[in-house]
């Protein structure tokens, strides 16, 4: 069962320099919320930003990770 810390490490590894926080929404190890601040998102649409994060986990999304809620932003951006 994935842990928030594991998800955080994997996102950080894929997006070097990103500021990442991950919460387990239900405590059940399958519904997560990730907030990610990264300059890699600059100039990308929301769809592209979220896909970058989903791509870290591939088929695990919808599998072991039942749900991953994502909030992305770039450094200095307001919300």
């Amino acid at each position: 069962m994935p842990t928030p810390a594991e998800l955080q490490e994997r996102i950080e590894a894929a997006l070097p320099g990103a500021e990442v926080s991950v919460d387990d929404l239900t405590g059940g190890g399958d519904h997560f919320r990730a907030e990610i601040v990264s300059d890699r998102f600059a100039g990308l649409s929301r769809i592209q930003q979220h896909k970058l994060v989903y791509d870290v986990f591939g088929p695990e999304i919808g599998g072991a990770i039942h749900a991953l809620s994502i909030k992305t932003s770039t450094p200095g951006a307001t919300s």
């Binding site: 929301r46 769809i47 979220h50 896909k51 989903y54 088929p59 999304i61 919808g62 749900a67 991953l68 809620s69 994502i70 909030k71």
Partner: protein, 131 residues
């Protein structure tokens, strides 16, 4: 029904409905909190949209994600383009971008959801054709 037929059906639903929501359950009876929030945002904006429940057959979700490249449900398409999943739908709803995209007025109180507009079924009932 073959996977190709399901995929063709999904493409048709996206092509024929300007605002097309794929969700778990129905707008009246959403089967997942994320789908409920997505349908709730569209209801609050008072736009007409079509909704398709992806739960009746696992292959619907597989084929949809194959078409869209998006792994999760719900998925909202507007003018045949993927807008996003529930996080993006809610962010765009709260910021007024979704109202702008759909050409409707942003409700004054974003929290207050008015009565939902009648929901169109997707063009053909998919459930009945799966056997």
């Amino acid at each position: 029904m073959t996977n190709d037929e399901i995929s063709a059906f999904l493409k048709q639903a996206i092509d024929e409905n300007r605002v097309m929501l794929f969700m778990k359950g129905t707008p009246e009876q959403p089967a997942c909190g994320f789908s409920a929030r997505a349908a709730g945002a569209l209801n609050a904006l008072g736009v007409q949209y079509a909704a398709l429940d992806i739960l009746p057959d696992q292959r619907i979700r597989e084929e949809l994600s194959g078409l869209s490249g998006w792994p999760t449900i719900p998925q909202l398409f507007v003018d045949k383009e993927l807008v996003g999943g529930s996080d993006i739908i809610i962010e765009m709803y709260e910021s007024g971008e979704l109202a702008e995209l759909l050409g409707v007025e942003q409700p004054e109180a974003v929290e207050a959801a008015p009565e939902p507009e009648p929901v169109r079924q997707a063009p053909i009932g998919l459930e009945n054709r799966l056997d």
